[in-house]
């Protein structure tokens, strides 16, 4: 019996753990955000957005950095980040597929779009495909009611979609 080869070290669970300081290319954006308000804490949402855009989600280290930047206690920043639905406290896929489920979209087939995507990708609400490419979420009204049903992919709106349009869209994403 041969000795099994030593197991490769497991990849870190969180590949994108940010450093504890703002990278040089973000410093001016952070300073600019702080300059817009008479008090630092007002910049908490802009600062959290800068972090999330950079790292894709808000890791504990990113929350810590944001707290230090606006001079707030970390638990308070955690409380703020969890209050808003758009902050990702877990990593999300490269493409965040957000299907509106509120009435106007529901009337025009929002649930169908969601079920189609869930079936196609094999994931449920707030789950990510194993390849890290897609995260699927049910969301509430996106202000695209006249273009129902609406699917938001990251920041981009896609309106009046049906199953075929969604399929095409997913294929075209780089």
């Amino acid at each position: 019996m041969s000795v099994p080869a030593p197991m490769a070290p497991a990849p870190p669970l969180v590949a994108l753990e940010p450093p504890l300081a703002w990278p040089a290319h973000l410093k001016s954006a952070v300073d600019e955000a702080l300059s817009h308000y008479p008090v630092k804490r007002s910049a908490i949402l802009p600062v959290l957005w800068i972090a999330q855009r950079e790292w894709g989600w808000l890791s504990p280290a990113a929350l810590k950095l944001a707290a230090r930047t606006v001079e707030l206690p970390e638990p308070e920043v955690f409380g703020i980040a969890t209050f808003y639905t758009m902050f990702n406290l877990k990593p999300v896929g490269k493409y965040h597929l957000q299907v509106c489920m509120t009435l106007s979209c529901s009337l025009m087939g929002g649930e169908r779009i969601y079920r189609h995507l869930a079936g196609k990708l094999g994931v449920g609400h707030r789950e990510t495909t194993p390849d890290g490419r897609f995260t699927l979420s049910r969301v509430e009204c996106l202000a695209a009611c006249a273009g129902a049903p609406c699917l938001q992919v990251n920041d981009d709106y896609h309106e009046r979609v049906d199953e075929a349009a969604v399929d095409r869209l997913l294929e075209q994403l780089p």
């Binding site: 703020i80 009337l107 509430e140």
Partner: protein, 434 residues
Amino acid sequence: MSAPRGPHLFKDIDTPGLTGIDVYRKLGGYAELGALLQRAPEEAIEVVKASGLRGRGGAGFPTGLKWSFVPKSTAKPKYLVCNADESEPGTCKDRELMEKDPHRLIEGMILAAHAFGANTGYIYLRGEFAYIQTILDRAIAEARAAGLLGQRCAGSGFRFELHTHLGAGAYICGEETALLSSLEGYRGQPRLKPPFPAVEGLYRCPTVVNNVETLMNVPEILRRGAPWFRQWGTDKSPGTKIFSVSGPVARPGNYEVPLGLPLSTLLNEHCGGMRDGFRVKAVIPGGSSVPLLPASMLDTPLDFESMTAAGTLLGSGGVIVIDDRVCIVDALRNLIRFYEHESCGKCTPCREGTFWMSEVFARLEAGEGRAQDVDLLADVADNILGKSFCALGDAAAMPVQGALKHFRAEFDHHVRERRCIVNRRRTELEQVPA
């Protein structure tokens, strides 16, 4: 060139390049800004008061009156905040306005701020509008470079700085005091009124919060005067209004029409009626927070007074058309789930009430409704309405009361027959995994 899409705000909305300052200027934008800023601020308040412009975000409060509540002599800085949260289900007009005509909003904000003496303004955008933030930031930079924003706006002695602020997903932040909490860097939870924001708003300083569409009406009103604005609409609801029409109509979309137009005209003439094979059953005329109107009441004029008389509200102008293949209980269940999800949790009637209404709706939809459930819904709604901390609770209670008033039979049918009164084509609703 195609026919204008509306008489005023939508007249030039599809002009190519309108997001840039040059095209906006070519259409007359900013032309009289310098002259308007030389006038006494009180004059602007008087003109807007005389125009009868009412808030376009939902409440319909007279705009000039709101500005006049800001104390004139105060040592504190004053703020103008544009509510661009556009979170009311059914409403998507501000998005189109800002996306296509950002400079009109900037000009409106400069003029509004001048009227009551604010030197700083913020545009609070819902988080999903990140791409609109980019458009607005570019337009603000253009206006600043052109000397229209900054230390001396358009060569006048008036100083005004303007910033965008992106929310991050919370319906409650469309409520003005919650919006201010969020802008200050707190969780977006509402604050007690009074004191009203005009006296103690952002950073406890005098603040006016106005909706996007409201502010975009301001430049033309000040340029052309109150009688010009009053050529449209009714005596108490003057001007035009943008209605977002959604649901199975032939041409859903945003439509700018004079206030007072019958709802049926909007639906039949502007939206081309229903899609083939669909019949209208009910319409939610002013965003999801208002009671629905049954098909028999579609001739109600779209103005603040007529809608109130019909037992509903003009609200934000989000017109949701519900067709006859939809079960009203199912539609309401969808909306109450929304309010349950969006309740901020601050006060008990709203937090608990929306949860329990949602539970009862789920039970009715699953065919497990109990005999007393319909009355229970009415009772819970009654215990939220007027008893919650802010208007979110009312917004959840009113649609339930409206549905019970006009469609009680569908609720009773659910309990008695353990199924919907209609053969639904959207039976997948309850199959969506939790």
